[in-house]
Amino acid sequence: MSRVWWVTMDIEKIKSGIEAAVPGASVQVVLNASPSAQHSLLIGREHAVEIARFLRDDAELRLDYCSNATGVDWLDTETSEKVKVKKLVDGVEQEVDEVRKTRVPGYLEAVYHLYSMEKKHGPVVMRMRTEDRERVTLPSLTPVWRSAEFQEREIFDLFGIVFEGHPDLRRILMWDGFEDFPMRRDYVEPNDYEYEPTAHDAVLEKAKAARAAEG
């Protein structure tokens, strides 16, 4: 008999557990519609450290191992919907279609994958979101899971999320004087196109632009 150690956790149960243990904590379940059904917990920034402590120390969960921390960049999105609006047209009230655009500001997201070595279950996926793409501070979870230290540094390096409470927040892959955040979706890489013998697709576009710029 094979031992199943990959237990999918009941995410709603964890959510109610957090809400009971950390008063005032904001926890949302983000459902994953794909067959993997890896739902995740979206937790508020304010109580993140307490929630993380609870997840680690709770006798039933004991999520003692943070295997992975990564970042996601969500750009600003614009949704447009058609709304019927009553308007006065030539003195007569009429129903007119109007396109209403709503701009949803983007945000940066830190995603943590938690396992329990003791209970042999996991993963529990936990997310935190920054306010928007300009105000980019999140609480560091390194005091809770030491293994997050380098990974949070990497998120800081590549996405530019500032982790408050991190013991040593420096760039880890790029050099210290580097100013950009290369994994952000609006990152513009240095224009260093060189001759490419088999250019195609995006590289061919680059080639054409470089030749046009050279005149």
Partner: protein, 217 residues
């Protein structure tokens, strides 16, 4: 000396040579590489030195841990922009005569990471490379072939004249500019004295796309 006379003399048990041949024979038979590797190609380089492939047969068994004692730099692996200044500095610290083998797709061109933001598009932007080896990673045989190619190159070097080795030419540069970390990229992005291929002197990018949107060339 006449080749025929030489053969005749050697039949009689008299060995003749020239200073140049002797000098180059000594140089090519004791090329000591610098101990350093940058990525997976380094594993193949290590394999090349071990018993199965045994680079020692060609006089390169002593990998020196200090650039001051090394003659050959095997750039084995991906050169990231963060690592490039250190590689150039190590090269500058090696005494003449010194040679460079760029091993593998990354070291010669950036390889699969060429279009990335953090990888150098080939180490020959900053230091002169004597032998390029393609492959990802190249097999130990390929490294040995490159090494033998380098030995042939050393052997063929004339000690006088314009083609003489760099260490015999007081005008020839022995050190090259170490790039600095800039805000967005390395400064300069390439050493134009070494790397002067521009789009103007490069051929056009050929691209023939068929009706189905796929490339035909």
């Amino acid at each position: 000396m006449d080749q025929q006379l030489r053969t005749e003399l050697s039949r009689q048990g008299i060995f003749t040579t020239t200073l140049e041949e002797l000098y180059n024979w000594g140089r090519k038979s004791s090329v000591w590489p610098l101990t350093f590797g940058l990525a997976c190609c380094a594993i193949e380089m290590i394999a090349t030195t071990m018993a199965r492939y045994d680079l020692a047969r060609f006089g390169a068994e002593v990998f020196r841990p200090s650039p001051r004692q090394a003659d050959l730099m095997i750039v084995a692996g991906t050169v990231t922009k963060k690592m490039a200044p250190q590689v150039v500095r190590l090269y500058n610290q090696m005494p003449e005569p010194k040679y460079v083998i760029a091993m593998g797709a990354c070291a010669i061109s950036g390889g699969p990471f060429k279009q990335g933001y953090n990888v150098l598009k080939g180490i020959d932007r900053y230091i002169p490379v004597d032998v390029h080896i393609p492959g990802c990673p190249p097999r130990p045989e390929a490294l040995m072939d490159a090494f033998i190619t380098l030995q042939k190159k050393i052997e063929a070097q004339s000690l006088t004249g314009p083609e003489r080795p760099r260490h015999l030419d007081p005008e020839a540069p022995s050190e090259f500019e170490v790039p600095q970390y800039g805000a967005h990229d390395l400064v300069p992005a390439k050493n134009v004295k070494l790397w002067n291929i521009t789009l103007k002197n490069a051929p056009n990018e050929p691209c023939v796309v068929g009706d189905d949107g796929h490339r035909k060339d």
